[in-house]
Structures are given as structure tokens and as C-alpha cells.
């Protein structure tokens, strides 16, 4: 077993990677597939949030993650990494963005660098799954409302009040029951007293 462990050579991605690559069928074959993915990765690094078909998004996401993690591990003075960046980023000014902006942003990140959401599909069209792919820490407003647990939100205020109401009703019921049983016991005792006195 002299073989080196692969996990030590290549950094592990923090996303789920499918066992087989998708083929992303197109007339130019595997080369065309890579062209498509390069376009998508370039777009993602450039715009930081893109909406596209789910398959292509999921496939491109893996390459983008790999590219960023290589850049973080080796830095901009490593020739093979530079070549990889040069290959994947079609617009060359984005190479600077990768090393100068994204590497500092994700250096201490212990989650994945990208996020993917399932996007709504247009009605009455071809039924293709859509996704939104974005870089973490982008400047846009968040797509999902993270504050749903804020107790001042109107739905939470209403539910809180309903809960309080329900509890009060239950307490009143319990108190009522206890009162009744006490009364019954008192009645029994008084009856016993009557019997004994007789």
C-alpha cells in the first residue's frame, strides 16, 4: 500500500459531489461541455449571483468550489494554480478578483463558498428545473428571510398571543376541576360527619 492518500493531495470540497459527472449534452462533445461550464464559472465569479438550469448550476458549482479552494491553498505565486485560473476564467480581470477579493473573503471560511437554491419554474413552459447559484458574502440582499424567528414579526406576535390565550384557558379549566374535586371531597367529609354524629 504505497499509494498516497488522495484526500491529502486534494482539498476536500464541502459540498455534495455526484459520483458521475453530468454530460450536459451538446454538439461539440466533452470539450463543449467544459466550454459551457467555463462560461458559467466565469459568470458566477463575475456577478456573484446567477440563475440558470439546475443541472448546469450543480455541475458548475463543483468546479467553482474547486477553483476557489485551490486558490486559497496555493495562492497566486503557484504556477499550476494560475494556469487553472487562467483556463476557467474567460475574462482575465477576474483572475485578480479571485486572488485579491475572494481568497481573503473565504480564507477562514469553514463552510462551502457557494450557495445554491432551487428557483421557481415559469408556468406553462418546458419543465426544466431552475436554480440560483451565488457566492457567499455577496453584496445583494438575502434571498431567504432569515429573521423568521424574530418575535416582533406580526405572525409571531399573533401566534404568541394565541398560545398565551390557549394556556390561560387550560389553566382556568384545571383550576375549575381542582375546585370541583375539592368541593366533592368536602361534601363527602361532611356526609361522613353526619353519619358519625348519627
Amino acid at each position: 500500500m504505497n499509494q498516497a492518500q488522495v484526500t491529502k493531495l486534494v482539498s476536500k470540497l464541502r459540498i455534495k459531489v455526484a459520483p458521475e459527472p453530468r454530460r450536459l449534452r451538446n454538439p461539440k462533445g466533452p470539450e463543449g461541455r467544459l466550454d459551457k461550464l467555463r462560461k458559467t464559472v466565469t459568470g458566477l465569479i463575475k456577478f456573484e449571483r446567477i440563475e440558470l438550469n439546475f443541472n448546469r448550476a450543480d455541475e458548475a458549482r463543483q468546479y467553482a468550489e474547486r477553483l476557489i479552494s485551490e486558490a486559497i491553498v496555493h495562492g497566486d505565486c503557484h504556477k499550476p494554480t494560475m494556469e487553472i485560473a487562467d483556463y476557467w476564467l474567460l475574462e482575465k480581470e477576474l483572475i485578480h478578483k479571485l486572488f485579491k477579493v475572494l481568497v481573503p473573503r473565504y480564507e477562514n471560511c469553514n463552510t462551502a463558498f457557494t450557495k445554491m437554491y432551487r428557483a421557481p419554474r415559469p408556468l406553462y413552459s418546458r419543465n426544466i428545473e431552475k436554480a440560483v447559484l451565488e457566492l457567499r458574502g455577496n453584496p445583494y440582499p438575502s434571498l431567504i428571510n432569515k429573521q423568521y424567528s424574530n418575535r416582533h414579526l406580526i405572525q409571531n406576535v399573533l401566534l404568541d398571543a394565541a398560545k398565551y390565550d390557549y394556556r390561560q384557558a387550560k389553566y382556568a379549566e384545571m383550576a375549575d376541576k381542582i375546585g370541583k374535586t375539592e368541593n366533592q371531597e368536602l361534601n363527602k367529609l361532611s356526609k361522613k360527619d353526619e353519619i358519625t354524629t348519627e
Partner: protein, 341 residues
């Protein structure tokens, strides 16, 4: 129906000289709405023309996408106009404006001086004031819904609605239905009311604000004796009455209110309860319309919403305007009395 203002005044004067308001009462509900809407638009136009020479103010905006300064027109531009400079998202999602970090301002109320501006949506971290404005608007819209929902032969006289109390579980409007002394709405009728409400919200009308003098307010609500009684009290402080308009419905409210009726999402008119007046009050009974609503974009599980609707069906314990000394929670009281005994 579109008569100029002067003609209305003449008409009114002549009638009040002869036999009081009797013939004004013959206005059908629909005509009264049209008339009020007409007067509102005339007054709004007049106030805009009165601004005269246009002066500029500086509005320093804070928030997404970035802080910046806008140069707007004094007494003409509203926070909504500022939102239009940014994006459709700002226009649709902003419910209230926060002026100078402390004053809550309607989206459609003209700005009077240079200030800082922030937009308040429903999912900010401190949404209490926005929620109150939302609840108030829901009550106001319930009044609009009640006026349009009935047939022409039923006279609907809106009475008033109390300040927003969200924890009570329902927003309310007290309505006087003099021709229906003993009405118990069927479930079908309640569904119809909810449907009418949804129709109003789908129209997505902007909620306009206007301050008018006492005389004009009295003139606008001449067909509604409850409102005409309330107006002098409201106008006592500064002689002004604040009116709000959605679609063609005009009502009195202190405000502030949210930006448009489209911001009301899920809505359910839950119950209509009868309120009985005290023996000495001249008004014998009112109907309390109750409902519950959530803003657009709030997603709530249908089970959770059903809990809210069930709760909203109970009589709201807010003070009755015609019988202030009786607690409206009579039905609950005996049980708890037993519990304490």
C-alpha cells in the same frame, strides 16, 4: 354625480335650511362613496395647486443599495417618489418611511423639509410600528369591504375602529346596519365578505393621505351621522382631520398607514358580532366586524393560520364605542369567576 364643490355646498345649504339632512339621507351608499371620493380628489388637487413656487429639499437616504442624497420637491414629493428612484422592490416592499430616525411617515405623505429617510418593510428587526400601521390599515380596509359587500337596499353606516391591538388576535370595525336589526351571518356570507376583502386587496390601490379642515370633513361625511359626531372631537386639537383613501373609499384615521392595499396578503374576515348599547345611549346596537390578516410574502403554515382564524372568531375585547362601561368579555367572565371561586 360629479358636481363641482360649490354646487354641493349650495345643495346642502338649501336642504339644511328647509328640512335638515333628511334628503341627504336618501343618498344611497354608492352615491355617498362617489361623492366623498370626488370631494377628496378636488381637495387634494387644490392643496397641490396651493403649494405655489416649488422649492427643493435634500433627502438623505440610508439603506440598500447605498446611502445617497436625493433632491426632491418640498410639499410635493413623498417617500414613495423617493422609492421610485431606486427600484420596484423598494416601491412594493416599503410599508412605512422613517424620517430623521424617529418619525414614522406615510409613504404617500409629502415631505415638508430636508431630512434623512429610511424605508421600513415588514421583516426588519424592529417592526412594531410597521405592524401597527398594518393592523390599522386592515381595519380601515375592513370598513371599505363592509361598505361594498352589501346590496344597495342595506344602508351601511361605518361607526369607528379602535387603535390597533395585534395581541387581541383580530382587527375590527364597528358598523351600524340600521336596516338589519337582527342579522346572524351564515358561513356563506362570511366567505363572501372575505372574498370582497381579497378583491379589494388585489386591486392594489395606493393608500392616499390628506389633511382637511373641519368644515370640509363634515361636508364629506354628511350622510353618516356617527362620523359627523366624531369629527368635532377629532378636530379639536388643530382644526384638522386626517383622511385616508383607498380606491374610492374615504375614511377618518389618525394614521400612519402602509403604502398600498396590495401589501395585505392572506386575509380572512372571521366573525360579525352584535354589540348592544347601554340603555341611555341613543344608539341601540352595532355590529363588530372582525378579521385577521398577514402581509404579502409572509408564508404561514395553513394549520398555524387556522389557529389564528379560530381565535379571531371570538368576540374582540376592545372597548365598545356605544357602551364603554361593560366589558365585552362577558362570555368568558363567568368561567373564570368559577375558577377563582
Amino acid at each position: 354625480m360629479k358636481l363641482p364643490l360649490t354646487q354641493f355646498l349650495q345643495l346642502n345649504l338649501r336642504q339644511s335650511n328647509i328640512k335638515g339632512f333628511t334628503s341627504i339621507r336618501c343618498l344611497s351608499t354608492q352615491e355617498a362613496i362617489e361623492r366623498r371620493h370626488h370631494l377628496f380628489t378636488l381637495e387634494k388637487k387644490r392643496q397641490l395647486e396651493n403649494v405655489g413656487r416649488i422649492e427643493k429639499i435634500e433627502v438623505r437616504y440610508k439603506g440598500i443599495p447605498k446611502d445617497c442624497t436625493l433632491v426632491m420637491n418640498k410639499d410635493i414629493s413623498t417617500p414613495y417618489d423617493c422609492a421610485r428612484h431606486f427600484s420596484e422592490w423598494h416601491m412594493e416592499s416599503s410599508a412605512l418611511a422613517l424620517i430623521d430616525g424617529s418619525m414614522y411617515w406615510d409613504m404617500h405623505r409629502p415631505l415638508t423639509e430636508s431630512c434623512t429617510l429610511e424605508f421600513q418593510t415588514f421583516n426588519i428587526s424592529e417592526p412594531q410600528q410597521v405592524n401597527k400601521a398594518f393592523w390599522r390599515t386592515c381595519s380601515f380596509m375592513l370598513g371599505a369591504c363592509a361598505t361594498v359587500a352589501f346590496k344597495d337596499k342595506v344602508t351601511v353606516k361605518l361607526h369607528s375602529f379602535p387603535g390597533p391591538d395585534i395581541r387581541s388576535g383580530s382587527f375590527i370595525y364597528d358598523v351600524d346596519l340600521p336596516t338589519l336589526p337582527d342579522w346572524k351571518p351564515t358561513p356563506q356570507e362570511m366567505h363572501t365578505l372575505s372574498a370582497e376583502y381579497v378583491k379589494l386587496t388585489r386591486q392594489n390601490d395606493l393608500i392616499e393621505r390628506l389633511e382637511v379642515g373641519q368644515e370640509l370633513a363634515l361636508e364629506m361625511f354628511v350622510d353618516n351621522e356617527h362620523k359627523t359626531k366624531q369629527i368635532p372631537d377629532i378636530a379639536r386639537t388643530n382644526g384638522k382631520v386626517t383622511l385616508y383613501k383607498v380606491g374610492k373609499h374615504v375614511d377618518i384615521s389618525k394614521g400612519p398607514m402602509i403604502s398600498s392595499s396590495g401589501q395585505i396578503g392572506k386575509v380572512f374576515v372571521s366573525a360579525v358580532h352584535k354589540l348592544l348599547g347601554s340603555p341611555e345611549s341613543d344608539l341601540k346596537q352595532l355590529y363588530r366586524f372582525q378579521g385577521v390578516a398577514l402581509p404579502t410574502g409572509v408564508i404561514l403554515n395553513h394549520f398555524a393560520f387556522s389557529i389564528l382564524t379560530e381565535r379571531a372568531k371570538k368576540l374582540n375585547s376592545a372597548r365598545s364605542p356605544i357602551n364603554p362601561f361593560v366589558d365585552t368579555r362577558e362570555s368568558v367572565e363567568p368561567q373564570s369567576m368559577q375558577a377563582h371561586a
